[in-house]
Structures are given as structure tokens and as C-alpha cells.
Symmetry: C2
Subunit: 116 residues, 2 copies
């Protein structure tokens, strides 16, 4: 349970650079490795590798345009990814609540015993 999620997706989103890239691509509606690298603390080649990772995870796709390769977020896939993140978060949250309830129940049991 809870790890029904594609590991590739988590590791794609787990990297801070890749999260910023997704942010930039969403804000600007698209971009190339070069334009992205100008706004990131890494070189163009590093950005290109990250774009490769995101591409393999299906989160972005490239559109060749002349000598450029314009990348954009695949919104459907990205929405699915966000939904999966939310689902895992919700599962963990539910589990925490259950633990808390059990802990309180045990406390009650202890109180009863002390009473007796």
C-alpha cells in the first residue's frame, strides 16, 4: 500500500532542480535547455539531462523548432502525477490519524486500569 506510485515519477519530482524546471516551464509555457539554464544554477548540459529524465517520466515533451528544441509540460501527465502525490500524502495522513486514535485508546485503557 502507498507505494502504488511510479517510482520514476517520485524520483523525477524528488530533485530540486527538476522541480524548479517544472515551475519555470509551467510559468513560461515552455522553454529550451538554454533558456532554462539561464535561470538555473547549473549548466545547459545538466539541464538537458534533467529534461531527459522528465521526458522519460512523461512529464514533459519536446517540440523541435528549427535549431531549437522547445520543451513543455505534458499537462495531463503532470496532473496525474500531482494526483498521485496527493494520494500518498492522504494515505500517510490517514495513517497518522489512526495511530493517534490508537494511542489515545491505549491511554484510556491505562486510566481504567489505574482506576481499578
Amino acid at each position: 500500500m502507498s507505494v502504488t506510485v511510479d517510482d520514476e515519477l517520485w524520483s523525477a519530482v524528488g530533485d530540486p532542480i527538476r522541480r524548479r524546471m517544472l515551475d519555470l516551464l509551467l510559468t513560461d509555457g515552455g522553454g529550451t535547455a538554454t533558456t532554462l539554464s539561464e535561470r538555473l544554477p547549473v549548466t545547459r548540459q545538466a539541464v538537458a539531462k534533467h529534461l531527459g529524465v522528465l521526458d522519460r517520466a512523461g512529464l514533459v515533451h519536446a517540440t523541435p523548432s528549427g535549431r531549437e528544441r522547445i520543451y513543455a509540460v505534458d499537462e495531463a501527465q503532470f496532473a496525474r502525477a500531482v494526483a498521485q502525490l496527493a494520494s500518498v500524502g492522504a494515505a500517510w495522513d490517514a495513517r497518522l490519524r489512526r495511530i493517534k486514535r490508537i494511542a489515545e485508546a491505549i491511554q484510556l485503557t491505562r486510566d481504567n486500569r489505574t482506576d481499578t
Copy 2:
């Protein structure tokens, strides 16, 4: 915006082994590197390293007990982490919705122009 989150936290949760470890610790209420490694596809030492990462991220803490070191999830910190994940998910979701709305607005503008 959106990357207000601790990068350490994301990378801690980004690893599939560490997610399963958190799952196991939550389910069993605690465990040692040895007991965890019996239920994971990696060696005890690898688990110990992951526990170190989770510890430095504040998500778990160890309690020495005789010759064992029992690790348990720090529920408060973990709850904070889940909340941050959820918040980033919500931010991305909101951004997607806004993009969709803008796209529809542009479509309407086009339609108007065609009308004129």
C-alpha cells in the same frame, strides 16, 4: 513560491526504499536496522544509511535500548512533512487550473475575433 519546502525533506521522501521504511516504521510503531532490512530488498548497512538520512531530516529518531537502536517516526515532524508535500501539490494543482482557464479565455478571444 512552491519551493518553500525543505529540499532535504523531498530528497528524503523521494527515495522508494525510504518511503517503504517510513511505511514499515509507521505500521510497526518502530524497528531496528536489522528488523527493517529483513523486510526490504537491501542489506542492513544500506538501511542504516537510509536511517541516517531520515534522522538528519528529522523524520525519525533513535532510542538506544541495550544492544539495539530502535528507530521510530517522529510524528510531529512527519506530519509537518506531509503537510508540506500536500501544499506543493495544491500549488501545482492551482497553477494547472489557472493555465487551463487562461487557455479557455484565449479560445474565447479567438472566437470573438472570428465573429467580427
